[in-house]
Amino acid sequence: MTERFPHLIVAPVVLPLMTAALLLLLGQKRKRAKSIANVGAALAGLLVALEILHGADAGGLSGAARVVLMSNWEAPFGIVLVADRLSALMLVLVGVVSLCAALYAEAAWGRAGAYFHALFQIQLMGLNGAFLTGDLFNLFVFFEVMLAASYGLHLHGSGWPRVRSGLHYIAVNLLASSLFLVGLAVLYGVMGTLSMADIAEKIALVPARDRGLLHAGAAVLAVAFLIKAAIWPLNAWLVPAYSATSAPVAALFALMTKVGIYVLMRLSTLLFSAGASAQFGGTVLLYAGLATIAFGAIGLMASMSLGHIAGFSVIVSSGTLLASLGMGTPAVTSAALFYMLSATLAVSALFLLVELVERIGSDGQRRVPDLDVEPGEDTNLDDEEAPLVARAFPVSIALLGLAFMVCALLVAGLPPLSGFVAKLSLLTALLSPRGGGHASAGAPVPPAAWIFFGLLLLSGLAATISLARAGIRYFWSSGGRLPPRLKAVEAASLLGLILCCILLTLFAEPVLRTTSATAAGLHSPKAYIEAVLSMKPRPGPTRPVIDEEAP
């Protein structure tokens, strides 16, 4: 532990918490101060996350998981925060998306209702905490923090679609939380411990007669995460909720499905990498993930409105990640991590864009042609008999159009942006199950991988068709159009997300190196377990000596 700030990994939790408290103290009137505090805290969060990633990525291939003992109690007994590469990557993702969402919210949404900023920060606290914690019950707490804030944020701005989908969202998540608790209780009943690392170490020691109960508990627990990760058929809540809520919140919510994925990724590799329960649930994840991709692709084909398209893209990306998780090989996991970064940023950008695009007014002269009806026979190519004159796009629409195109490329995984690199890395990893990057000749490919391969390509096609349809509808067909008012902060936040994707494209190689190190670390969790369990509390006045042996 020779890093610069040993306790820095508490900051992603404490910083938003204190910011939220200060925001509440600021009162309703001082809008400017609140805006500055919110954006400033998000920026600080991003910087902290980058520093943590820097620290986590420095420690060679085995990786140095940084561990901090909360309240100075060692691992199985107290709560630990662990920042390994995966957690750090997720923190950076939260940092980037939250900064852009916070910036975007300053244009209008931040002032639309009560306590937006405070709830926003609490949501960040929940997200960060969930990514950092190494304790299952603490994970539940942070899930609750995240969800409690998300209820408020989702309903922010009111209106019946929000309230309606919001109440469904709350009900589903309450049920999910109950399942979480049930699973947790069973797991604790069998294992007698809540620390993830401790469970991972002791899971091999579980007597055979307890294994059934252990598996049942793990399955119930997994259902809670699968709901969050939007697996089919447990994802009907997602599209109405995400498309109804305000743009910055939707962008933030794109992160929340990734929490479910993250936890599944963390726990499945930690608990079920080896031993008698190895690969537990892998098949379910794989096939349900594939079904989720198919469901998402069908949803994309069926959707006309951009909000729904964005929602179904979240589902497609969730399905992709779950299926990759189900494949259970480091190469696929590494590719999936890259995909997760790219897809999250892209979908967040798309959510921000939805609202801006829908702002493009029409002067009402022309009916928007409904692309859902079959066109008449042969439209004459030359019916006006005058030289055709194109319509110039106003600058704001041209910029939005460009941004939309970039988002569409990213979401559909078309070249040349990071969406394509991500998809390519997944496809390559599927074809070379033993890893090694380059297409390794000759190795047999399992049948599920072929289905996955085809579905990835087909979902890309569905996204292309759907996004082209939406693009034509919003940018080309809307008759004489009134340029939307585009505020600088909105443009900046959108640009920020897109820029991150472009950077991800340009520096795909170093990022892939990090993700493959992350995946390697995940699939051989020994280092993680040791780092957590070997962390000793600092001796102090009330705890003079630490006896090696647990009572």
């Binding site: 058929p233 537990f280 079959e374 319509r391």
Partner: protein, 971 residues
Amino acid sequence: MPLAALLLLPFLGSVLTALLPTRARSELAACAGFVSAGAAVWVISLFPRVRDGGVIRETISWVPSLGLDLVLRLDGFAWMFAVLITVIGALVCLYARYYMSPEDPVARLYAFLLAFMGAMLGVVLSGNLVQLVVFWELTSLVSFLLIGYWHHRVDAQRGARMALTVTGAGGLALLGGVLLLGHIVGSYELDVALASGDRVRAHPLYPAALVLILLGALTKSAQFPFHFWLPRAMAAPTPVSAYLHSATMVKAGVFLLARLWPVLSGTELWFWIVSGAGMTTLLLGAYIAMFQHDLKRVLAYSTISHLGLITLLFGLNSSLAAVAGVFHIMNHATFKASLFMAAGVVDHETGTRDIRRLNGLIRSMPRTGALALVASGAMAGVPLLNGFLSKEMFFAETMFFSAHPSVEVMLPVVATIAAIFAVVYSLRFGYDIFFGPPSTDLPRQPEEAPRWMRTPIELLVLSCLIVGVAPTISIGPSLAAAARPVVGGTLPEYSLAIWHGFNPPFVMSLVAIAGGVLGYLWLRKHQEQGRLQDAPFVGRLNARRLFESALLGLTRLSRRVLRLAGTRRLQTQMFTIIAVALLLALLAARGVPLEWGDRDRLPASPAFVLLWVIGAVCAVGAAVMAKFHRLIAITLMGGAGLVTCLTFMWFSAPDLALTQIVVEIITTILLLLGLRWLPMRIEGISRPVTARDRMRRGRDLLLAIGAGSGLAALSYAMLTRPAPHSISPFFLSRALPEGGGANVVNVMLVDFRAFDTLGEITVLGAVALTVYALLRRFRPPPESIEQPHQQRAFPADVVTDLVKPRTAEDAARGYMMVPAVIARLLLPVSVLVAAHFLLRGHNEPGGGFVAGLVVAIAMLMQYMVSGALWLEARARLRPVRWIAVGLLLGAITGLGALAVGYPFLTTHTAHVRLPLVGEVHLPSATFFDLGVFAVVVGATLLTLTALAHQSLRAHRRPTQSPASSTSEGTS
């Protein structure tokens, strides 16, 4: 890095033109033209290096771990394509300057044209198969944008979408195929792939890879059955059609066929798919082209047909045919681009492209007419023009092709028929519009096109002539250089002479020309009489319509599937979740032993059993009544909660019991307060219960029983286990010596797992804020606004000694007087009790949570008996501040440990000796607990005020005095 610079140049030009003023068309054209011309000169200057089979390659590292690097590779074949792309690009830029209307904001057009040029150069320069796909998809995308250039037109939108869908789908298939190919050969490098043709053809994955790659190539080159997008793409401005949809982009498909010819060709499968598609397209395209009336569509179908010819040549598995294919690529690009430009001149000058309306244009535009005639001669395959040469080679290939006898016979016949058709449509294009009596009803008076608009056509037609007259000198070296890499390094013997003697191919040419002229005359006669306006036999089989309805059907189908596979109903979602959880838990426990534990069972005592029976009845009753009588349901829930509380007591958990009871009280009261504002249950909707309803209810009941028993089984299994590795003994042994408190539960809350507590109080705060934010905008439904029955017992005009509480400031003035006095007297007592709980919490039952709830209950009572107005006029409650301060207190206490070098939330107990009191243990955890207390008070009060203010709003509205209702009293 000559190639990298060459590739980058058009993209830079694209950005530059996008930034120029959008209507400065001369500047834009000059900028784009010079960029393309510069690129062209650059490419041409590289010829000596690729002339004799040399290859220029450059590598720029991008994602080496995926095998995806920018490998730029220029051999003779790529060089030929690069020349076509840049030279025709430069000519098109010049042409577009005059073609586009002066009002048109053309910056976008030029920017896209240059971007396309870059993308297309990227395709041909790719030395990496994945990189080729990258640029391939880029060309599709730019083509989409260019077809939709006049985006306000529906045909442009549809054409663009169709092109993108077809070529985009093909691109994805190509990606899959390329990945398979890379999987087979072990690398995505083109050179590696080119060197391992035998290995690829022998691999079991070869058919899959081949089909996928061919899907890409055939969609891009508009081959049957994917040909329908190309005529629709004619909605693009004519310069775009000339450039993308005849000369370059549609050639990308045949480019790929040629590029991978050494790897993939030579098998039966290749022959049947490629030459089959090519032959069908050749014939079909030429056939439909004869019957078109729009100049551009004649050319579009003719392009399809010629691409079919090239495809067929590559499909024949003969290297001589491949050379002919390469040759025809060049020839077709030159004469077809010039024809498109000529068509553009005609519609620019006359205002129409309808062949039936255009006649005798040679008088008004002699030069354009002459150029168009020469170019259509090349298209028809007239001797001394370049089209003739490649067509002769094609005929020769069909004659000397040896395969199955039926194919041997069919091939020359088909070739001749297609050639006859080609002569017919060339005559329709050339002869029909330029000769005959001049039209009089044209939208505009035709006149000769501007000089510089004709220049690009002149240059192209000139090259047709030169190649046609002196092929060996003019095109020989380039063709050799271009064809060599395609056939794998060694060129077959071929002769570019104009005259090969009186041999079968020449006879075929003669037959074609003669037959074509006769056919044209026959067709014209019929068409003048109004017959044969549409292509017979295939007119009904409209691939475009099939595509549109397929897409539409797909959308509808997905909606139907979505309705089946997804739901918008909460009930269904809940059912699914519980069913999945049950199913997965059962599945997970399958195959491994699942037994009860062997921990000692406690004997059941009758009293406890009775208690639990009561609890169970309450719980089930609450569930039953939830739908019919909410008040009873809530009351019963309270009953179940009480039983839980008593159970805690029974098992000697006083702390839990204490917390449980206050939580029960407060939640029940809040629920009851909220109940007031829910809409009434609508009685009297009676629908006969159908069998389906019964089935559904039965299904739900089964699930409920299943999930309930599953949960019970889980609990039982869990409770009967001893948990040998449990961490709980640790807490019991360390709480006092190291945690500094005798109350283990409290020490856990504020020390062992204080981090959890910090999170939990945050949850509490967030929930309260949410409730407040939601209810702030909420307006109760009209039926709830009316005063409840109890308060309406007396009409307003009846004199009574009861003061109507709702019209008075102080609700307690009326019948609430006595309870109000008691409640007010209880307030200080409650605060004292709370303080007691808070302070003793570390060692005995109590703590910040319970203390906070006690205070909250006391305040709640004040609200209930005195009313919000009275209370808030006298006490400034600021619940949000309570929450904020509590959270801060918790966080700062935690950070305090950091200051002295300990981890977050580490506790420390200070032993202070105070006068009078004596020794005091002051753990830092007390401050933390104080934070918990503050948050609990704040959160409960905030929820309470949010509910209480509903009543203010609801009753203010009828009396219309909203001004005074704004005092919401919070923060």
